[in-house]
Symmetry: C5
Subunit: 333 residues, 5 copies
């Protein structure tokens, strides 16, 4: 982890000057313009920031008030604002929590990029994306020759890779649910289905604007990207599209699962009704016969026959068998 | 509140001349062309206007008859008409009523913008958007240097911010409904669902054309916006898109809630039918047995047995238990 | 009404020369090219025409055979054909019948427009759109200075305004149906729903191509429209879009009404089944008890008790009450 | 019918040279380049062809191997390939069979068009489209001055007109089905519905690519069409769109019919259930009463009353009437 | 099969130099630049490769690290990366397994194409597409004059043709299922339906990006394709679209089959309920009559009549017949 100091004595503003040979820390921001040479990169990383700190940075780097407001507001959809000599972009960070899968809470990584500098702001203290990329620069400082857009590429790649486990887990959950639905479509599975559907929809809503931002980077005419770097951003965009492919699959699986559930319910109703009909037919018929001999007519045949009981039982069993055979022929059994 | 006077003695036409130092009221409109200097802004605000007043203004500012007609008609969808030296735009104001949530009544704010002037017309007397922006100019008259489009930006920002509580309340209502549906899907919730669906659809229909107007402002090639101001309008547009994101969520939640309702109904029908089938099976079987012994045959076994009652009760309880066990095995209970 | 004469003695071809001062009738068509000066407008109105008359006109004005065929065929979808010195457009007229709402029969208004002339053809004798616009020219002949496209604008405005009552009545009908559905979803309402749905779909299919034609006029690059006239056509197009907004609402309401109907039916089935289950449970239980005491066992308790009747009635009432209480607890009552 | 000869003695290759004065047959293909003058048109018509014949023609006219392969393959979707001096297009012919409506079998008409020649290939012997257009040229040879694209226009017009009876019959069938569904929604109508749906879908799939080809012709920038001819192709395209309008209507009607069917089924189920519930309620109540008096208690009131029968019958009729009145009040009858 | 040798002694890297006269194997890669002349083609084919081998090739041909990473990763969606002097494309190979139809496992063919060379990489050992195209070059080495894009065309054609049997089998399966559904809609068919639906969706997801890549090739402005070759790629693209047409048909058939299933289930429920209602009505009525005469009233008519049995049987048969006649009249039988 880099040292947490800054030129103004406040915690959480960290500055790095990356030259071909090394990564230098604690650069004074006042005269960065004279300090940073061509092919060098100044990185300012701010975390858990206050409005005052952002204002100070805005003064140093000439940041636009709209972009500054965007950093200070609550969660906003990812967007990209271009200015004559720098651009601002708002990226979405998704935390990959192990448990409580159905809760997705996006946080933001604010990014300002100029000709020779990068400025990252995050309200979250642990900002693994930034730490990771800074480490890469520390190991290979010569990367600074590729300009600030290479840092942007590395950040984007890290973020996109971090979305994969989340959507893949959603995909697994949906697969599992579909299998469960095919076996026994119960109410719990249905609740789970609506839960996953909601998560998938949320993810899509959160990542959709992010994808649009990546598409802007991947376009050939984005002014801050040198033409030979364009393919890197195309690659990141392509992986982002793959994430949406997976989310499409999830949506398809869940919509199919609802169809499975509904037809299972219909089927079951049909079966219940068949059982009821068969039971009612057989028992009502038998009851009718017993009712017949329950009539108080004095003249009914066999009333006094000693074999009446045996004969009646045999007749009833035969009748029941005949009715069941008939239902089986109609494929109700 | 500004003084309500005008150069022709009629109430409700208020004129303001904003210079770098101050906001001056009651400017005579006849020779505004000579009065308003470069980097100054003339604002004419008209409320509860009559056709004659609009005609007068049209003469002073050279307004096009199509735009004038649009001001005088009833509610129309937001639209933007560009003319060589000014443009006209029709904005939607939504009142944020506390109660009677399901009623949405849009009103209009008509806006004419020239090189050095802004003209706002509203049939509603209290026009908080205009009051708010005028106050901002009164406090910081130097804003007039940014030209009339900055006033447009402030108005649009106010309006877009005023839509948020409305869609967020709709979002809350939909969430609440979904929770209610998952607990007990009754007819009242269903009526509520169709209600919210209608409100959401209305909102979408009202705000859709407004969004298109904002998109025109956010485009880089809108001629009245200086290139360095463009990012302000992109920002407003971006927030408008977020409103549509929320409305998409509402739509998704409501459509999911209908699915929840319908599957709950199906489930309940299934359960009712199972109860009926179980009851019918058990009671019909028992009734058959009683019917059997109700037959008037003189020769039936155990007819005269003193333990008949006890045995019969025991047999019937056992039979019932067996049938219930069988239903439980088929997962009907 | 203008005089019904023409230069060739046939009824129904009427010619008008509109100069700045007056509207002149009965212009000979043979040498119209020399007669009509700049800033003047020749209007030829033909009704209930025969192929020969159209051929004559085609010769006089150099009309293209494809456009002539389009006039002579039966109903065709609105379309616009541009030629080097004139264009042809096929407009839809909807009759606003009071009764028999569910029948929509579009008729056509054929329109040829050149640099200095307008040619309208209609198979229908009363052609209120043309009469109305001609009256406007008779009252204000100076309008001819705005060129033939102003006549087109007036015709389009008349037509679009004439669609409004039709779609608004459809909207009212749909609203009324939705209210009816919420109160008692019966078969008659359902038939009405499918009726309105069909009407809405027909309207959309008829007006869709008309809207596309209006969109072409509203585009900035349509060559026959001077740039300062463009806003008129944008205005007409905007009102046409509003008609489609209303039709979208109708579609939404009707689709919602079908959902209301279907869930009402499901609900009702559920209720019927609950009643059946309750009735069957109570009466089968009671019948079982009577059946029990109908068995011909000689040894049953209380058979000879003088209070049997009273006790039995009390027991049965208590049992029924208990079952009803149980059903109420399960929210079936 | 033209004579069936060719310059190489093989049946089925017919050649025509159309000059301003006449249509000449049996032109030798070897030196067509020198024979065909400007403003003349060479038409080669081949039917039931073999690969060798196509290869010969390919040599004479310099046809591309991809287009030749396309002629020799089985059915392919309509497509258009442009080459520097000619283009190839693959058109769909639909046979308008009287009976067996639900079978649609498209065949192909291959068309090569150069600056001065047209080449048509068809595996089907009777190729009415080609015969029809050749007859038109035989009657008016001067049409050749309009160039080969006029022949293409005549062919396309013939084909599009030949699609109309097919889609209109489908439209009629769908209308008829809807009426039938509204009267008695039975299983046979349902099978018919799925049949028509399939036919409509097939038609749409077959004609969709054909429409795209027509759209290419109607575009202003298709290089083989002179600008004054463009309107002819716009007209053909417009009629094709009308065919798709009709198919949209068919789809809407069929989807509405399925809704009608499903709600009819639901309705009927509801009615059946109501009948069952009413019957069960009435008869179970009556049976309970008879069961009550079937109990073998010695002390039951009125057991020995001589009016028991009459009173009982009266009581039961009254009870039944009361129950039916109650069901009618609940609108179940 | 070509010999499996390479210039660095490792198995699986095979090199071919195709000149106008012959196909030469085992070319040393170190100095390929000097070896390969204009109008000649160098083909390097690598299978079951290791990262080291790819790195070596990357050095020889100047491959971009993003493309190299794409070769070394697991399955990725097809994409195309253009570089100044070569391009990289990732193609999908579908194995056409006879059995286990519902499992689709795509593998990848990586393709680098320069001005004079083609590089194919496949992790699968048997790579029939590459073998097939190499054989074609071995037979006709002169094809090398058409440049490397012709090899790409032959590979794409092979791949697209290999997709056809897979989608056609899916089409057949869907047809078969639809027929089965129309005959007896059982649960097994439903499971099959969801299975096929999933396969169709998977195929669509796998082939969609492949189609987009083909569309890029078919566009006129793809820089590596000479204008006269463009039509080949249009042809391949057109066949790919046909594959999607078939998949659309499958989707339509399956969605129709689900409708068939659901309406069959509804129908069957209706029929079961009718049977139950008829049975219940008849038997309950008869039981009521027997119950009536089971009452212990001493005064009931005909109690002692000797013809009671006969009359009762006749009456009951007549009553049953009457009820059945009534049900038939209501079309329930």
């Amino acid at each position: 982890m880099p040292a947490r100091t800054s030129q103004r004595g406040k915690a959480m503003i960290k500055t790095y000057l990356i030259t071909k040979e090394q990564l230098q820390e604690d650069i004074p921001l006042e005269d960065w313009q004279s300090l940073v040479k061509d092919d060098e990169l100044l990185w300012v990383d701010v975390r858990a920031y206050t409005p005052e700190e952002v204002e100070t940075l805005a003064r140093h780097f000439g940041l636009h008030s709209v972009a500054v407001d965007s950093c200070l507001d609550g969660y906003r959809r990812p967007h990209l604002y271009e200015f004559p000599d720098h651009f601002y972009v708002n990226l979405t960070v998704l935390e990959n929590r192990k448990r409580k899968r159905t809760e997705i809470k996006p946080t933001e990584l604010h990014l300002f990029v100029g000709k020779k500098w990068v400025l990252t702001l995050s309200q979250q203290e642990p900002s693994p994306a930034v730490d990771e990329v800074l480490n890469e620069y520390r190991e290979t400082p010569a990367l600074c020759e590729r300009g600030p857009m290479h840092a942007v590429y590395l950040l984007l790649e890290y973020l996109v890779e971090s979305y994969f486990p989340i959507v893949e887990r959603l995909d697994d959950d949906a697969d599992e649910l579909e299998t469960a639905m095919l076996q026994h479509a119960d109410k719990r599975s249905l609740a789970r289905l609506f839960d996953l559907k909601r998560v998938g929809f949320e993810l899509r809503r959160i990542l959709g604007p992010q994808r649009d931002v990546l598409a802007t980077f991947a376009r050939r005419d984005f002014p801050f990207i040198r033409s030979e770097q364009n393919v890197y951003f195309q690659d990141v965009y392509n992986r982002m599209i793959r994430i949406f492919d997976i989310m499409d699959t999830v949506r398809e699986i869940l919509s199919g699962s609802l169809d499975i559930y509904l037809s299972a319910i219909s089927n079951r109703l049909n079966e219940v009704m068949k059982v009821l009909t068969i039971v009612a037919t057989v028992l009502m018929t038998l009851s009718f016969i017993t009712g017949f001999y329950g009539m108080n007519f004095t003249h009914l045949p066999w009333l006094r026959s000693p074999n009446a009981f045996r004969n009646m039982v045999i007749f009833m069993i035969a009748l029941t068998a005949a009715m069941l055979w008939w239902f089986r022929r109609r494929r109700w059994l």
